[in-house]
Symmetry: C2
Subunit: 191 residues, 2 copies
DNA sequence: CGTTGAATTCATCCGTGGTTGAATTCTACG
DNA sequence: CGTAGAATTCAACCACGGATGAATTCAACG
């Protein structure tokens, strides 16, 4: 079925391919996700994937999506001041990770950091530029950058255990409980 | 060079292959590490790898090494009581991760958790049985298991950023500084 | 020394998966 | 309508990498 040639009607196949790529990268990681599998998910020929996105690495780059403009993200955390920034950070973190729209893109980025050097670089950049440089700039005291990095590392670890490894205790916990527990620990690093 | 047949002398080739496997898995992850690359590192024919360790998955299982008997590990942390357990946990964590002997095995386990379902299961088991069940059992208060899991997640995150992604701020920090900063946050979860 | 078995390499097979260029079907626009 | 170009599939190539079975060299032991 599905013979050669353009399909009738008005359709956004490119978008479907991209969504399939996100879902597949998120679920199986860079190497585990094959172009063929992505194409199958999008119900499309593998060649079409290349037609739209070029090489697999290009497709990966297109699939990595940040939840919101990084600057806005940082602003939202630190804008109201250092007080309560820990809880705001935790809340914002879970907000984007729990949203099915953005989760796949984030998972793709996180898993990518383990799969390819370029993926690791993406994560380094994201954290370096946005989180640490911008947020740590507002903090007082010694070693603000290191403290900010440690706060970020905690969130990374939670993402790993809750969304990748699916550790039962963490997967079962409610977001409210998590924010209540994690927020103060983050605040301890920031204050 | 290296013609067919047994090599003269008394040598532990099997051990060298295993070490090469650990190093390669640690550096490139499960999929990135090829049997051929491992064999080349050990200066050996690929077939020999299979001869000793069977399938690639078997080799991976052999390469994942825990730093010490998990029970002993847990005992060391919680044995002296809840007081100071946070610092002891942090110290023990960095001890095994900074030791080049054990680091490759741990990296293999951590990266493996991202690459294959089985790898994720290994990590789940390790944390589930040892860390959480054993350690959380000694804690007081509500949600001891979740709190313990969160403490563990922080350590995982640090491992990711320091040893996998190689985030500069974290890589540059001294172990003493890290223990001093992280210990109290872990203690906050435990107490 | 001769024989057995372990250690090691050789040659090769085969599946998987990224990639490509040509062919086919549709839409848009004159 | 006719033609240009975009969307889509077809068919195939080719490299990489895991796996295997036979052949070769050495050690151990009688």
């Amino acid at each position: 079925m599905a013979r050669a040639g353009r399909r009738p009607g008005d359709n956004d196949t490119r978008g479907e391919v991209l969504a399939a790529a996100r879902a597949t990268f998120a679920e199986r990681g860079y190497h585990g996700a094959t172009i063929r599998a992505i194409a199958a998910t999008a119900d499309v020929d593998p060649a079409l994937v290349h037609h739209y996105f070029g090489t697999k690495e290009d497709l990966f780059a297109a699939a990595v999506r940040l939840p919101m403009p990084p600057a806005a993200f940082a602003e939202r955390i630190i804008g109201p001041g250092v007080d309560g920034a820990g809880e705001r950070l935790a809340a914002a973190f879970f907000e984007v990770w729990e949203d099915p729209t953005t989760r796949d893109g984030l998972l793709t980025m996180l898993r990518g950091a383990f799969a390819t050097d370029r993926g690791a670089a993406v994560l380094r950049d994201f954290f370096g530029t946005v989180m640490v440089r911008r947020l740590a700039g507002e903090l007082d005291g010694e070693g603000a950058e290191l403290r900010m990095t440690l706060a970020a590392s905690h969130l990374i670890g939670i993402a790993v255990l809750r969304y990748v490894v699916r550790f039962p205790d963490l997967e079962a916990a409610s977001v409210d409980d998590l924010v209540a527990l994690v927020g103060p620990r983050l605040q301890a690093y920031l204050g």
